[in-house]
């Protein structure tokens, strides 16, 4: 399937793309556009103005996708809190990791194009997932 989002990928879009490939569509193909009108007819838009898979009711797009696809994995929701704060910085969650992640994503967008950012962030989110998975199992910070 084809998925479309805004060019100049930042934290929310990178996290959504990782989530889409991981839990919704392993063969997802991503298109980056600068205007909503450029979204191909067959593509599902996400993290764009007016898209169903966008910001809604103070949720960032990553949270919207989790809700829309009934993804209830606690580990994904732990990551959602970080993505939310890195993207919106509205103090809804206590996520000190968010600021660092925001800086890393901004830096990545300065050294490569959007597909580079997605390639570089995949192991980043995989690692975050494993970290919070272990934390949930242990009930404390894993070493």
């Amino acid at each position: 399937m084809k998925w479309a989002t805004r060019a100049g990928v930042h934290i929310d879009r990178a996290a959504c793309a990782w989530l889409i490939r991981r839990d919704i569509d392993p063969d997802a193909e991503f298109v980056f556009v600068t205007d909503p009108e450029e979204v191909p007819d067959e593509a599902t838009p996400f993290d764009m103005r007016g898209a169903e898979l966008g910001h809604h009711h103070d949720d960032c797009s990553f949270e919207t996708i989790l809700r829309r696809y009934d993804l209830t994995d606690r580990v994904l929701w732990a990551i959602a809190r970080i993505v939310h704060e890195a993207d919106l910085d509205d103090g809804r969650y206590d996520a000190p990791e968010a600021h660092g992640l925001d800086v890393i994503l901004r830096g990545l967008s300065m050294i490569g194009d959007d597909s580079h950012t997605l390639t570089a962030t995949k192991p980043l989110f995989d690692g975050l997932y494993e970290y919070y998975r272990r934390r949930n199992l242990l009930g404390r910070e894993p070493a």
Binding site: H10, R49, G54, H55, D89, S109
Partner: protein
Amino acid sequence: MSVMSTVRISSPGEWLLLSYRMPREPSTPRIGIWRKLKRLGVAQLGDGLVALPADARTREHLDWIADEITEAGGAAGVWIARPATKAQERQLAQAMADARAAEYRELRKTAGEQADATAAGSAERARAVRRLRDELRRIQRRDYFPPPERDAARAAVDALRYPDEITEDTA
């Protein structure tokens, strides 16, 4: 009050304007939007017209806010604009820098009060430092034309954390 510093601007840059109107009632979404705009540090150009220097982050925030206004039954548009003269841009930037300077001064004052009210090394002091650092970070995120007050505020918070090292860094 100290003399305000002057913002330096080389040439007019790109700005983002958000033009919007929202129904008067219900007031909750209106207030929610206003809080978000305030947190972003927008310059108010007129009734239902605010501005921010254009970059990827400000664009993204204003786009989402425009969407939210539309969802709440209002109308909104995001525009890319360039001031016609340097003076006009300077005025705008200066107003934004002055607003941040006031926030930094307030933060510095609170840090000074905490220095008197809490003991160095105490848990209470550590909590105050954490709170002030959070606040400092929030101000810095909406600080597009940093005034000198920023460094003074930063130094005051650091001095609260490391009272023995103050002379080195803040001199």
